[in-house]
Amino acid sequence: MTSEIYTLTVNGNDHHVIDGHPSESLLWVLRERLELSGSKNACEEGECGSCTVLLDGEIVCSCLVLAASAVGREITTIEGLGSGKEISDVQKAFVEAGAVQCGFCTPGLLVTIDQLLNTNPDPDELVVREAISGNLCRCTGYGRILEAVRIASNNRIAQNEEEKSK
């Protein structure tokens, strides 16, 4: 399988990448070729987590994924959270807790936290801290981000219980 023209599956849609260079990272292709600029580019060395996306359901730094090697994988970006015009529950919790300041780390954090709550709906604070340890935030001091995770987690638990009792 070579990469002169290749297809990436992003948020359930197929995107053709034409004339891509083999060195391009997934982050670069998402932002510059596919116009999905939600994933942010800061360090380009896997340090900051602002480019976090899901690759087959696992969080990775898209800056460290070779774009043409992601063919046939399911890529989920921040644009794939929520449904249509409705923002996701984690996004709402961020708004409620005031967990966004400059906002640059937010897309990566949202992808990380959404994935965390999908696998562990009721994480304790230590688990949350480890889960977001690869997402740097220079503004908030993390207090309100942790609060947002708690809100989103409580809401999901309440919703699950409500659905069970129906």
Binding site: M1, T2, S3, E4, Y6, P22, S23, S25, E44, E45, G46, E47, G49, T52, L55, E58, I59, V60, C61, C63, L64, V65, L66, A68, S69, V71, G72, T112, E130, A131, S133, G134, N135
Partner: protein, 284 residues
């Protein structure tokens, strides 16, 4: 050429045999940093990340074989953690969850950085790498595989297929010094593996020399002093001597992460702490 996503080890070896200059990609956590900086232009790439056989592991008797494509996250598997706890500890200190999902054991070895987190553990256990090309299978000891700072003994056309190591009976510790818990490249690291059957304490050290090695003088000393019957706590004098011998065996350098003096001091502290932890009745 572009990017070739290999589906099997044989396919990967065939691609490399035809074009040995192809860049091999595993988890990408080192290679892509270079590519993003423009330091490494990737004209043709062989991606090993989707070869199922490289992600397998097995236990045959007291020998464990780990596929080179196993990620740091995979090393947290409770079954693996029960057999080689220090390796799981080391894997958990790598980068962040994002990095641990992508980075692989084989990649850590091929990159051959003195700061590679799994390396001190594998050195302590005398791990052997199983290499494969289209024409040859061979085995090489980890201390011979890593030939210098970020250089290895891979021949053109070869890939790391798996890493095999004995499973030892007894407690293990991996310790690492860095500036914080996450996203840390080690300033010094140390692995201590007890081998109750062989009556040996095996010590691997990291970030203190161009090529990894075992602290054999310290190992020989402590094998005599260790209480192999009851594994009880050791005297302060013995612990300090062990710590000193480990520190003396290292040849660290000054760099942007720390000075040689600090590294020598810190590796001694790690040796002491690890020894206290593997003795019964001592809690960290």
């Amino acid at each position: 050429m572009g990017v070739i996503i290999a589906k099997s080890v044989n396919e990967a070896c065939a691609v490399l045999a035809e074009n040995p200059a192809t860049t091999v990609l595993a988890g990408g956590t080192d290679l892509m940093v270079q590519a993003n900086r423009g330091a490494h232009s990737l004209e043709s790439v062989l991606d090993l990340s989707r070869i199922p056989e490289l992600k397998n592991w097995s236990l045959e008797g007291s020998e464990m074989v780990l596929g080179a494509g196993i990620s740091y996250t995979d090393l947290a598997d409770p079954q693996i953690a029960a057999l080689v706890p220090a390796l799981t500890q080391a894997a958990r200190t790598v980068g962040s969850p994002q990095i641990r999902n992508a980075g692989t054991l084989g990649g850590n070895l091929a990159t051959a950085s003195p700061a590679g987190d799994t390396i001190p553990v594998l050195v302590a256990m005398d791990a052997v790498l199983q290499l494969k090309s289209s024409t040859e299978n061979r085995e090489i000891a980890i201390t011979e595989f890593i030939t210098g700072v970020k250089t290895n003994a891979l021949k053109p056309g070869e890939i790391i297929q798996s890493i095999k190591m004995p499973v030892f009976q007894g407690p293990q510790e991996f310790l690492k010094v860095g500036t914080r818990n996450a996203m840390v490249i080690s300033v010094v690291s140390l692995a201590l593996v007890t081998d109750f059957l062989g009556r040996k304490l095996r010590v691997g050290v990291g970030s203190v020399s161009p090529v990894p090695f075992r602290a054999t003088a310290a190992e020989e000393f402590i094998a005599q002093e260790f209480d192999w019957e009851t594994n009880s706590a050791l005297s302060e004098k013995v612990i300090n001597k062990f710590s000193e011998l480990v520190a003396d065996s290292t040849k660290p350098i000054d760099d942007h992460r720390g000075t040689a003096d600090y590294r020598k001091h810190a590796v001694g502290v790690l040796a002491k702490r690890a020894l206290e932890r593997v003795c019964a009745g001592e809690k960290s």
